[in-house]
Subunit: 373 residues, 2 copies
């Protein structure tokens, strides 16, 4: 997708109006673009910072056509875009990232096979067609395992630990069967990792690719809590992680920001990386780039899909990003009082439901190692 | 003005919808506030990034009451707010910065007298009631001057070099008289400065005050072109400049971000500072704080007027801000291509009129001196 850059004042269509859509819309406005956001909730966080919005369901054909008609390019805050919606949008507008990136990542099975094709390492897994196939799959996988725990993950619609079932015992298997019923799933060996990492990178339409520094990510209950840069890893691991993202993005002829989540394992031969998941979008583990880099993941995503030159991804400061979930948000002012170098983002969500991502903050520190441009 | 902090989700009213209002609205949204902007132009830059807006004249009483009714606090992107508008707003809402700060700074005579009262140095000046008093004022001022050039500045409504007339000769005086007619003005001796500087600082309702680093400012034709941090000045000058801003803000019982523009002179006794102008608002010479500081001038202004804790103002990187005036904006993509560490802001203005501020960019470099927190 090499093409003429969009002129300033063009409209960036964004499917999805949550916090990622909000920060994408803010980045678009920074560059002088109009943002037009489609989202079903009338109080979508992105609406309040966008020049225009369309409040409609993601499968509303008329609304999708309107979005495509208004926008000079359409992009996404999430990967679970239906094939029909994609076809509609592609028929009427430029779309980025490309369809194949959404198709591969919205289905865990397709994603695993894609990674296999590229020869990239993942945790041992087996496909599970439905509940009755589960026990056999577990048996087969257990043969190769040095431990005995699994994640059963629905092939579709999983995020933030949703759509997952942890299996630690024989009884869990029958519970998991009831939970799974007739749905397609992937059974994954639970790996004893040392650390979780992610690569957030941006690829332009001309194939040029830039990488942000690799954060260490800390999850609880399947939800990201903290991202820390620099991660305490050797340079060789950082480079290897980034090389995985390069291969993934290249194979998808990707345009925009993409994140690859990884496990770091300590094994007899040394450190080893496994690919956990690909996200074809800006990513929670890259929020610190707004504070700690010359050009953030949000701005670079907009630059890429608009055909603009990519911006510098070097990190000028050390940073720690902490998500505010549910009632955490009530402590926001105390958190600012405790440390003036905390940069707060609240998403404008009204209801602080348990576990809901309400905001985040980024703590900035002078870089311990002098920044490399 | 010590009071309870506004809860997240509160509404920040902003009078003025240009680029400063726009960046204030974006900072408000970042913190989870709703921004409601009042501005007369239907395509005001701030409207596209605000949850709500009121398109009305600045002296429209009904509109001002609506703004005050919607907002939990009202603030300003400019100082030329009429006494009537201020009275209306104050009657119905919290207002920050305080009225006296606007009154003092919207009238050059009042501002000079205020600075005199504080014992802060300014360029020699004389008040000029009208055209007929000009020649005498020039004569009196010339007596004390080692040079022979003046600026005649209208007492009210001047900004970006507008409302000024440069006098270099006797003929200029008669031209200036025709230009001035019956208006109040200040005649200022044109000082041969070494450098222009500014202090951008924030003061909370509790009197706590934080300072950004002092930029060197480069003007052409009275309009700011570049701001550079660090400025090539000794630490003692930086501290003295900041102490001036502290006295000014203290005397005004100021709340919010305030800028003080200064001239640095090299005289026989060494370096000397003169106060040029006070701006009771976020300032063009502080735009680099978005890229180079943990918390920007815009966010700190919103934090201050909302009664929130102030954020860290230390500078993690060296920076150079360059304004894009008029057709400069056509080179935006070339500028990004030339240096990926340029962070671009376009204000979404449609018409690139000569000299109009269309956007700016900030070049970031790793700090030559390790940042002090």
């Amino acid at each position: 997708m090499t093409r003429e850059p969009l002129p300033p004042g063009s409209t960036i269509g964004i499917l999805g109006g949550g916090q990622l859509g909000r920060m994408l819309a803010q980045a678009a406005a920074k560059l002088g673009f109009r943002a037009c956001v489609l989202s079903p909730e009338p109080d979508s966080p992105a609406f309040a910072v966008s020049a225009a919005h369309i409040c409609a369901a993601y499968d509303d054909a008329e609304a999708l056509k309107r979005l495509a008609g208004e926008a000079d390019v359409v992009t996404f805050e999430f990967e679970n875009v239906s094939a029909q919606a994609l076809a509609l949008l592609e028929g009427a507008a430029l779309v980025a990232p490309p369809r194949v990136a959404l198709e591969v990542t919205q289905d865990r099975l397709a994603e695993k096979r894609f990674l296999d094709t590229l020869g990239l390492p993942t945790a041992p897994y087996a496909t599970v067609e439905n509940a009755s196939a589960l026990a056999g799959a577990a048996e087969a996988l257990r043969g190769s395992a040095d431990q005995d725990a699994f994640f059963l993950k629905l092939a579709r619609q999983g995020y933030d630990g949703k759509g997952q079932f942890k299996i630690k015992s024989a009884e869990d298997i029958s519970k998991a069967q009831a939970w799974l019923a007739n749905t397609n799933a992937v059974l994954e060996q639970a790996v004893a990792f040392e650390m979780e990492l992610s690569v957030v990178a941006v690829r332009g339409g001309d194939g040029a690719m830039l990488f942000y520094d690799v954060p260490q990510n800390i999850h609880r209950d399947g939800v990201l809590r903290e991202s820390i840069v620099p991660a305490p890893i050797p340079e060789s691991v950082r480079r290897e992680a980034q090389s995985y993202a390069r291969r993934i993005a290249g194979a998808l002829d990707y345009v925009g920001v993409l994140a690859v989540e990884l496990f770091l394992l300590r094994q007899e031969g040394g450190l080893r990386l496994l690919v956990n998941e690909i996200a074809p979008r800006v990513h929670n583990s890259g929020h610190w780039t707004l504070e700690a880099c010359a050009v953030s993941q949000f701005e670079n995503h907009i630059r890429a899909v608009a055909g603009w030159p990519l911006g510098a991804t070097w990190r000028h400061s050390d940073a720690r990003m902490v998500n505010l979930l549910g009632k955490d948000v009530e402590d926001a002012l105390t958190l600012l009082r405790e440390d003036p170098a905390r940069s707060l983002h609240l998403y404008g969500k009204h209801e602080a439901r348990d576990g809901r991502k309400m905001g985040h903050y980024v703590e900035l520190r002078p870089a311990a190692v002098k920044p490399r441009m």
